[in-house]
């Protein structure tokens, strides 16, 4: 069933609601997964879905569907659900912005021009490289693309039509040496065409080389270290350590959290600037959020001070702050919630060489397998690490995991380099069951003091904390 924006907009005219939105999408996707021995998956498919969300007197009614001809029924149901309970003094969420946008992802090699055979051929080349080691027990080449027609109409008069093309690749190898089994992988993904995944032979070579080196490498010993994080891990760190804490839905109705996250409070050194910007052309790009609000460059931390936070309509209105265009949903059948887009640490005033000199002895953590936070503590997992002695990289280390208290760790940032880089990938961000949402994160190399690293055995305290910032106060 083709989606007609004029028809959809008309449906909102007679709705009894303070605010309502209809989102619908039709998508066509391809997934290919090759392993060392076989073709695990080769599938194409279509997905149609949508939802209606209605707000009345502080109550949300939401109805999601997979048959686009259910939109009238969904409107009726969502309206009914929004009347289940009324709240006194509920805020109005309407008349915030009207945006009429029609956008098409720019591609150099449009996905529809690349046959399944061509895709298989390129991916098989990467798999051949990954398999080219006696130590590699298994490989994974995962390719995913999607072409989606997206429509949002809301009662503010916004109409967003977005023909979205997304393409990504993940390459990994599992090396085995005796009883040691070591995976390593890299990924790249973005809005665009097949050009995003072409010519990744060097990435495949790097993956197999690193996996086979790591399987021979010693494990990191648990302990407290001063560390340098590379741009990829610096990005995961700031996403986990502060990005999630800046999402206003964690704060907006909690009086104690509002006291802790008060604008103007110091969270890091003067050199620290943290930004979320959905207008940048990385995996977190959005022409408009899922409530019809345009994204913006939002400083979360400016000169070490809490500057602003990420908002949906609801959190912005309730906190009396500006909307930032950060209400995002993983699909049109999921509710928009406050999410990051492209989040990064801005360049500092040091060089990378200067950071290593300053560290002298410690750990250099490289790449990122993932991260998680509970808004007080965080965990992030580098792909691997190096021991640093007298300012130089020495042996490679495997199985490293970093953890810390968000506030202490931000305060323990000692120096920031000037080589900011952003990364996306086929994985993404997860929150409230919505994953993986495309985001990017990054930053320059950063030097952090007193980070707890988990690895082999119970280690000993190596460095004493120079600063004592404490918990959220």
């Amino acid at each position: 069933m083709p989606i007609d924006p004029i028809d959809v907009q008309k449906k909102l005219k007679d709705i009894q609601a303070e605010y309502a939105e209809i989102r619908m999408s039709e998508g066509y996707s391809t997934t290919i997964h090759l392993s060392k021995k076989m073709i695990e998956t080769c599938k194409v498919g279509t997905t149609t879905q949508g939802s209606v969300r209605v707000y009345n007197k502080g109550c949300w009614g939401f109805f999601a569907f997979t048959s686009l001809d259910m939109v009238d029924y969904a409107l009726q149901q969502a309206q009914e659900l929004s009347h289940i309970q009324k709240k006194e003094n509920a805020h109005s969420l309407s008349s915030l912005q009207t945006n009429v946008i029609k956008e098409l992802t720019k591609t150099h090699i449009p996905l529809h021009t690349v046959s399944l055979e061509e895709k298989m051929c390129v991916l098989t080349e990467y798999n051949t490289i990954l398999k080219d080691s006696q130590l590699v027990e298994n490989t994974n080449v995962l390719y995913r693309d999607s072409m989606t027609k997206y429509l949002l109409c809301n009662t503010d008069g916004s109409v967003v039509e977005y023909d979205r093309s997304f393409c990504g690749l993940s390459l990994s190898a599992i090396a085995k040496d005796g009883a040691v089994i070591q995976p390593y992988g890299e990924s790249d993904a973005n809005y665009g065409g097949f050009e995003i995944v072409k010519d990744k032979h060097t990435m495949a070579e790097e993956v197999v080389r690193t996996a086979t080196e790591l399987v021979m490498a010693p494990q990191v010993k648990s302990g407290v270290y001063n560390v340098i994080a590379d741009p990829k891990l610096a990005g995961v760190f700031i996403h986990e350590a502060f990005g999630h804490l800046s999402e206003a839905d964690f704060v907006y109705e909690n009086p104690r959290m509002k006291e802790i996250m008060v604008i103007g409070k110091r969270f890091g050194p003067d050199i620290l600037n943290v930004v979320d910007d959905g207008t940048l052309p990385y995996a977190g790009y959005i022409p408009c959020d899922d409530e019809g609000i345009k994204p913006a460059k939002t400083y979360l931390i400016k000169n070490g001070i809490l500057h602003s936070r990420l908002h949906s309509r609801e959190t912005a209105v309730k906190m009396g702050e500006e909307v930032t265009g950060n209400a995002r949903a993983i699909t049109t059948s999921a509710s928009p919630i406050v999410r990051m887009t492209n989040t990064y640490i801005e360049n500092g005033d040091s060089t990378v060489e200067h950071l290593f000199e300053k560290l002298w002895n410690g750990i250099y953590v490289v790449g990122a397998l993932g991260g998680q936070t509970n808004l007080e503590m965080f965990t992030f997992t580098p792909a691997y690490a190096y021991e640093i002695k007298k300012g130089k990289k020495t042996k490679k280390l495997r199985d490293c995991m970093l953890m810390g208290n968000v506030f202490e760790t931000l305060a323990n940032i000692e120096a920031i380099a000037n080589d900011c880089t952003l990364y996306g990938g086929l994985g993404g961000c997860g929150k409230q069951g919505q994953a993986p949402l495309p985001v990017s994160s990054g930053g320059p190399h950063i030097l952090i003091n007193n980070v707890l690293i988990g690895g082999k055995g119970a280690g000993s305290r190596k460095t004493k904390s120079k600063k004592n910032s404490g918990n959220m106060r």
């Binding site: 998680q372 980070v451 119970a458």
Partner: protein, 439 residues
């Protein structure tokens, strides 16, 4: 709605049967879901959704292709996509199961759907009020909802069967900021295919808030630890990783060469049982049509069995175990059903007393991020408490644990007589030793 969808299925079946294939199957799912939610102590909204989808797998000239849709009008295109992808698919020589005797298991309780809106609102309000009557500064989020679902599988070998399932679930999150600025957030969740007692969840939340009233410190070291059933569920995930046909066939299971050997403590017995009435992962047949069966995975510490779907069973020359899982948009993969661990004889309270000084762990952060393929793990402690001389002293923060499951789950581990359901696992409290680090 169900009748209309059955007609759609007939149409797909007839269309597939006309195509030249070695075999085919169609997996379809339909579900209606409604969830009521409270956020920050007050009613927030209601979410309702309707899901349907069809996944079509076709083996053409020995190679398997797959496609999916959720709009029946796309049927002809999707069947062609399945045929096209088969050109690039893997050679698969196994056969699909035909019609057979379906084991009985209760998956559907219509009583779930007889409750009105006021019941859900009243129940959730009561959850919030009960927790806040103990801790008035607590911010409570709570959700309560149900699913009315149906899955149907039809294939070219004559299998043609579906079953209806009900599911009811609740999640409670309670957040406090302590005077020292530390943040305590407790999550409790339950899913069951029939009614359950939500008050038990509330009691658990209040007990854990009580344990967390103070923040305490403990130095680095190797300590006794009690994992709650919720925390042990994540440890068990590391234990069971590698006990699938897929990982064994690919050579990345650490259990290769260890079947029949004693790897864990003698108290350790784990079953995979999809035939428990109303349990969250119960089903009469798996998503490839293989009958569900109860099996012992680990017995008295000996690694006995692993799970296998049709493809890996064929490659490994064993019988499929009835553990294929899929959604309409995915190919089958191997998945444990209800994990049931045999209990011990010591009560949880006696465990705390016996432990003397040690840690109780309830929630991790980032548990799955370490390289767990060899059974090692490192995890940040989200919710853990220090016990001294059998008394809970307070919550440990800024700390982590690292160990490997084989060393940890040895003959000295102690299992509680009580068990709790968490997700699809029915587990006891587990006492053992662990490496603890802090900054």
């Amino acid at each position: 709605m169900l009748e209309a969808e059955k007609l759609n299925l007939r149409r797909i079946q007839e269309t597939c049967a006309r195509k030249k294939t070695r075999w085919w199957d169609v997996f379809s799912e339909f579900a209606i879901n409604r969830t009521f939610s409270f956020k920050n102590n007050v009613f927030y909204g209601v979410r309702e959704s309707e899901l349907k989808g069809y996944g079509i797998r076709m083996n053409v000239d020995g190679k398997t292709g797959f496609s999916f849709c959720n709009d029946i009008s796309m049927l002809d295109s999707v069947i062609e996509y399945a045929r096209e992808t088969a050109r690039y698919g893997e050679t698969e020589e196994y056969e699909l199961p035909g019609m057979h005797t379906i084991p009985h298991v209760a998956c559907y309780d219509e009583n779930i759907f007889k409750k009105d809106t006021q019941y859900y609102l009243h129940t959730l309000q009561s959850v919030v009020d009960t927790i806040r009557s103990e801790y008035s500064d607590c911010m409570v989020d709570a959700g309560f909802g149900f699913v009315d679902g149906y899955v149907h599988l039809v294939n070219s070998s004559g299998f043609d069967c579906g079953y209806r399932y009900s599911r009811q679930g609740s999640t409670i999150s309670a957040l406090r900021i302590l005077p020292d600025g530390s943040r305590v957030q407790i999550y409790e969740t339950i899913t069951w295919n029939s009614d359950f007692n939500i008050d038990e969840l509330v009691d658990r939340v209040i007990l854990k808030l009580r344990f967390s009233e103070r923040t305490v410190k403990m130095p680095f070291g190797n300590y006794y630890v009690i994992f709650t059933p919720k925390a042990f569920g994540q440890i068990l995930g590391v234990v069971l990783q590698g006990l699938s046909g897929h990982s064994i066939e690919r050579g990345v299971s650490r259990y290769i060469g260890k079947f029949g050997q004693k790897v864990f403590g003698k108290q350790f017995t784990v079953h995979d049982n999809p035939l428990i009435d109303f349990a969250p992962s119960s089903y009469p047949f798996d998503d490839e049509g293989v009958p569900a069966q109860n099996k012992t995975i680990i017995e008295n510490g000996y690694v006995k069995n692993y799970i296998a779907h049709l493809q890996s069973a064929h490659l490994l020359h064993i019988q499929p175990t009835g553990n294929a899982s899929r959604g309409h948009a995915s190919l089958p993969f191997e998945k444990f059903s209800n994990i049931v661990m045999e209990p011990g004889t010591t009560t949880f309270q006696d465990m705390i007393t016996q432990m003397g000084t040690g840690i109780i762990i309830d929630q991790f952060i980032g548990f799955g991020q370490s390289n767990t393929l060899m059974g090692n793990f490192s995890a940040n402690l989200d919710l853990a408490w220090l016990v001294v001389q059998g008394e809970v002293k307070g919550r440990l923060t800024n700390s982590m644990v690292s160990d490997d499951v084989t060393t940890m789950l040895n003959d000295k581990m102690v299992l509680s007589s009580e068990r709790e359901w968490g997700g699809n696992a029915y587990l006891p409290y587990v006492l053992c030793r662990i490496n603890y680090s802090t900054n």
